[in-house]
């Protein structure tokens, strides 16, 4: 079989010739596979795909989305989820199975204009997306800063295993909720922190394709790379989420802090050192009720060095209820995005 390198493509570009299986954003034309989007083409064992760099959000089952209530009928709410279709949230999902349109006042639970975080339970070509809020951390978002970014930038904003968003959360003392549909809500008590987080998110969106982005975000947020003697130790202890999801060879201590700030490409037996660059115990100007998840990313070293059965258990050590599913969502998303990010990360590494 012919080997191809990952490369940039635009619609109509011939990616490869031969009997390959077209996967994502690729169509077969004659004996060629051609790209249908602007993006990065890559061939794997399964087939050929293009990771897109632009486009609107197309709903997928199990995606976590942030939507705005735009209308309601007697049995459901219509939700704008920033996609080609409006989604529906059944009233039974909120009130329970004994919901009665005559008895229950839907306006008391959710009114038009409210923001909700929900999960897509069903969607196909013939039907509009159906949402649910019956899960931890789902439901109405009472307050926060609303930011819209391109859905294709969401993986970059999350970063590898949530590294980028953790950096932003910790540096600005805020909590950032990211929907796969490109809607981001930032909450926190400090107005300066909110505006700084919003600025950083916009920066990630606008410069997502550029190299050395992580470092520039840290510069914007005034995050110092720690140079204390404990650093190699903390580097050595890879975060629990990583060790639990991908058992890797024992990582080597990285004396060079600069290189440790960059996410490493997947195949290399490097630890995810992002968290090691986070400011260690934050100066806490004000205790924040919502900061459990934002302050928790420093994993417990003992637990993180041992393979965990799953992500949730590894993250729940430090987090209170609710943050585990959020972390899981982030890890899911970053897994989805790892391919997309890896080339940019590689470039960053190379530049360094």
């Amino acid at each position: 079989m012919q080997e191809i390198k990952r490369r940039y493509v635009i619609p109509g570009d011939k990616i490869i010739e031969g009997n390959y299986k077209p996967l994502m954003n690729v169509v077969k034309s004659g004996n060629y596979l051609i790209s249908t989007r602007v993006g990065i083409a890559e061939a794997g064992k399964d087939g050929v795909k293009v990771i897109p760099l632009s486009g609107v959000y197309i709903p997928r089952v199990n995606d976590l989305v942030i939507g705005k209530i735009i209308d309601r009928s007697s049995l459901s709410w219509d939700v704008d989820i920033n996609a080609c279709f409006f989604a529906h949230l059944p009233a039974q999902d909120v009130f329970g199975r004994d919901f009665s349109p005559a008895k229950d006042d839907m306006g008391r639970q959710l009114s038009i204009g409210d923001l909700i975080i929900a999960r897509i339970v069903s969607f196909d070509r013939t039907r509009d997306p159906m949402l649910t809020v019956q899960d931890k951390d789902l439901g109405k978002i009472p307050y926060g800063e609303f930011i819209k970014i391109s859905p294709t930038r969401v993986p970059r904003l999350i970063g590898k295993r949530g590294s980028m968003i953790q950096t932003i959360e910790q540096a600005t003392q805020t909590r950032v909720i990211i929907g796969q549909n490109g809607i981001v809500v930032v909450t926190g008590r400090d107005p300066d922190g909110l505006s700084l987080a919003a600025k950083a998110i916009k920066m990630v969106e606008e410069e997502s394709h550029t190299t050395n982005l992580t470092q520039r975000v840290k510069t914007l947020l005034n995050v110092q790379d720690p140079v204390d003697p404990e650093q190699p130790e903390s580097v050595n202890a890879s975060p629990g989420t990583e060790s639990s999801t991908q058992p890797q060879p024992q990582p080597q201590p990285q004396p060079n802090n600069e290189s440790s700030t960059q996410p490493q490409p997947q195949p290399q037996p490097q630890p995810n050192n992002e968290s090691s660059t986070q400011p260690q115990p934050q100066p806490q100007p004000q205790p924040q009720p919502n900061n459990e998840s934002s302050t928790q990313p420093q994993p417990n070293n003992e637990s993180s060095t041992q393979p965990q059965p799953n992500n949730e258990s590894s993250t729940s050590n430090n987090s209170k209820s609710g943050s585990s599913s959020k972390e899981k969502h982030r890890n899911d998303s970053s897994e989805k995005s790892s391919n997309n990010d890896s080339d940019i990360d590689q470039k960053e590494k190379k530049q360094e």
Partner: protein, 248 residues
């Protein structure tokens, strides 16, 4: 011996009214992503033509009865600004604009995989800021780039270029003066990778041999335009890197 009309369009050295040779395109400049509110956009300067295109969608169809159950609806609006011509143009859609909107839609449709977005609509707005002949071709070029910028699934980019006849000469990319005073004008839209023609109009008279020559020149022009479109898209998304640099 040249008559007055021919002298104005082409001199004895084979140079045209604007100094170009017979196979020479006007200067083309494309910028991608100029309208922040749109899902995709492009700005093109094609000679003296200045056109901005914004693409919205795929999005919910309004009115809903227009939605198609199996594919996406493509709507295209070509509009000339009142200040785009030397005398004020009435901003209301003219017969010509309605027709150009239709042919643009039909030239773009074959490149789009509309079945990927059932029950949705894609809106393409083409606004001519300054017109100088060949604005439909320039509009198609910009619209195609804007659609790619919007992340809509496409089989290929669409490149368009006109060719025409000035007396006995078949020339590439005719401008406003040549369009008005020349003998034939043939706009062609083309899918360069799939090698398919999606638009072919002809205003004027050509012999069979002239038609073949005209079509061949127009297709060559489309291929040249394609390189500029490709470069513009690459520049927006990948900067100046044309190749992905992999770690050793």
């Amino acid at each position: 011996m040249y008559n007055l009309k021919e002298l104005a369009l082409m001199d004895e050295n084979g140079k045209r009214s604007d100094g170009r040779g017979i196979d020479e395109l006007r200067s083309i400049k494309i910028t991608v992503g100029v309208v922040k509110n749109a899902d995709g956009s492009a700005y093109i300067e094609f000679g003296k033509n200045k056109i901005i295109v914004a693409v919205y969608g795929p999005r919910e169809v309004h009115p809903k009865h227009m939605a198609l159950p199996d594919r996406c609806v493509l709507r295209c609006r070509y509009h000339m600004s009142p200040f785009s011509t030397d005398t004020r143009k009435n901003p209301a859609p003219s017969r010509r604009e309605v027709e150009i909107s239709k042919v643009m839609r039909e030239s773009l449709e074959p490149s789009l995989i509309l079945s990927d977005y059932p029950r949705a609509v894609i809106d393409v707005f083409v606004e001519v800021l300054q017109a100088d002949g060949g604005s439909r071709c320039a509009g198609i070029n910009a619209a195609s780039v804007a659609l790619a910028d919007a992340g809509i699934n496409m089989r290929d980019l669409v490149s368009a270029c006109a060719a025409g006849r000035l007396s006995d000469n078949i020339v590439l990319d005719i401008n406003d003066l040549e369009d008005k005073e020349g003998d034939a004008d043939m706009p062609v839209a083309y899918l360069p990778n799939l090698e398919q023609v999606t638009l072919l109009q002809l205003d004027g008279k050509l012999t069979t041999a002239q038609f073949s020559e005209c079509l061949e020149k127009a297709i060559n022009g489309c291929k040249s335009v394609y390189e500029i479109q490709k470069e513009a898209l690459m520049k927006k998304y990948f900067g100046n890197e044309m190749e992905l640099k992999e770690e050793a």
